[in-house]
Symmetry: C2
Subunit: 295 residues, 2 copies
């Protein structure tokens, strides 16, 4: 099944448009998870355990999960082993996986990244991958070709959620910004690839912190799933993300990382659940997010 249709089915079967970002950080892990030994292998095992517990809590309650590769790579090769295990575990639990790697390169190197994360023989087995557009169309096409082989998907960075994202993305040429131009390319790459749900495998990343641009981008890429980061800890709210959806409540997934996975550290859950019941805090935060997103 087309990746876009898989994602549509996931949002419909769970009733959720939430994506949980799996961003393990040593300093924020629940105490129970912190390893005795300080070795990379011990931390990697702790990251795997932490993410598995989260997946157990959120499976069936959210549309997808998004492991952030950077935090796993921070542990070195041992962390990469953990990332592989986390992806495998999510898939075992029938949770769609967006690997957040923001990868990109040219020609056969782009193909190598695509094969790595999305290919038929992919040793990581991600369902989709975030990719960066700076190198142009010929750097993205190898990803799309590999997506076709295994019904995988990509999310191209279009308009990012950080304060300085506009420095290059907002530069205007003949009335069109760079991010609008990337959106045009994203739209074009979905041509001939649209699934039953009306969307295709080439998605986009558009931050919740720019609600006006989100509405504009929804219109500019009518067949693209939009991955919306910046909800929760980064300041985006439910009203900010509405514009990313179509009137069937399809077409977007909203990511929250810290607010969910480290919910035991939030004031509203620290006292009632805290360290000892951190999984309950994850569950409560997930339910809260789903409620916020059910307008």
């Amino acid at each position: 099944m087309n990746f876009a249709d898989q994602l549509a089915a996931a949002t419909q079967s769970t009733g959720s448009v939430a994506c949980v970002g799996l961003d393990p950080r040593k300093a924020s892990l629940p105490k129970k998870i912190i390893p005795v030994s300080d070795s990379p292998d011990a931390w990697a095992a702790a990251y795997t355990l932490f993410c598995r517990e989260i997946i157990d809590v959120v499976a069936g309650k959210v549309a997808c999960v998004k492991p952030q590769s950077a935090f796993f790579e921070q542990l070195g090769p041992a962390g990469c082993v953990s990332l592989g295990e986390v992806i495998s575990y999510a898939r075992l639990k029938n949770v769609l996986v967006i690997v957040d790697g923001k990868r990109n390169d040219i020609g056969s190197t782009a193909t190598a990244y695509a094969d790595a994360y999305l290919g038929q023989q992919s040793p990581w087995g991600g369902d989709s991958l975030t990719v960066s557009p700076y190198l142009g169309r010929d750097s993205l096409e190898p990803f799309v070709e590999v997506c076709d082989q295994r019904d995988a998907g990509i999310f191209v960075l279009v308009k990012t959620s950080n304060p300085g994202g506009g420095l290059f993305q907002d530069r205007t040429t003949d009335g069109q910004t760079v991010y609008q131009s990337v959106a045009e390319l994203v739209r074009e790459m979905n041509e001939g690839r649209v699934g039953k749900c009306g969307y295709g495998p080439v998605g986009a990343v558009v931050g919740a912190t720019y609600p006006q641009q989100l509405a504009e981008m929804r219109a500019a890429m009518p067949t693209s799933w939009i991955l919306i980061p910046g909800f929760g800890a980064q300041g985006g709210g439910a009203d900010d993300v509405k514009a990313g959806f179509d009137d069937q409540r399809l077409g977007a997934v909203v990511n929250s990382s810290r607010h969910i996975i480290f919910a035991h550290r939030r004031a509203e859950y620290a006292d009632s659940m805290g360290e000892d019941r951190w999984q309950d805090a994850v569950e409560a935060a997930t339910i809260e997010m789903n409620q916020q997103l059910s307008w």
Copy 2:
């Protein structure tokens, strides 16, 4: 010692401005290196062996090596272990390492990537890393801050060597292209960081396939080392890259991957050396490249 000064010392002690790209590919490995078993671990061990043999040949003959992360990631977690081993081995042999990962993200995630590859506790231990600028200044600054801690360096994608690189990079606003605007940021980030050699830790990637832009970029970023890909297999020649250097023959390193590491497959070496003497072919191709680059 400032990364820029380390790189200057490396070009001066070796008399070479060449960078050898370590891009292992299953289909191009010498037959002797191909593993008996088809498992990821077996291939990863083969990649490590292959790259170690190349490092043994080129150590002392080239300025640096550049492992391409994509090809290691293509093997999954096992490949990441190999990448770590290859970086460690190069450093053991006193060869500077540019990790070609084209990483980028925002805020604390960018810091995680920087810590991963360049930090004081880096489990990979790269000397420098290629990074993508699409997310803006605040996505690059965490890398520069981490570079300061361990005298590491970055190479920011400015003008890439692929045919379609211009789609976004060449868009012009108020007379300035995107890549010129990225170059301006690169120049600014080196302010206050310039070492004895006249260069700083914030370098740039400018493809050999755009010689005119290379001259322009040399002038626009007078304190930045330029990593020049596209030499050899991608079509760039010695005359094309000259403009990347200052009149002391400093300020740039020229990368060649396939033409060096798979030299045994090139017509000029296939008969005389071929599979059995593939390391000799690597050596001959390295010497040839150094000669081409000694104008």
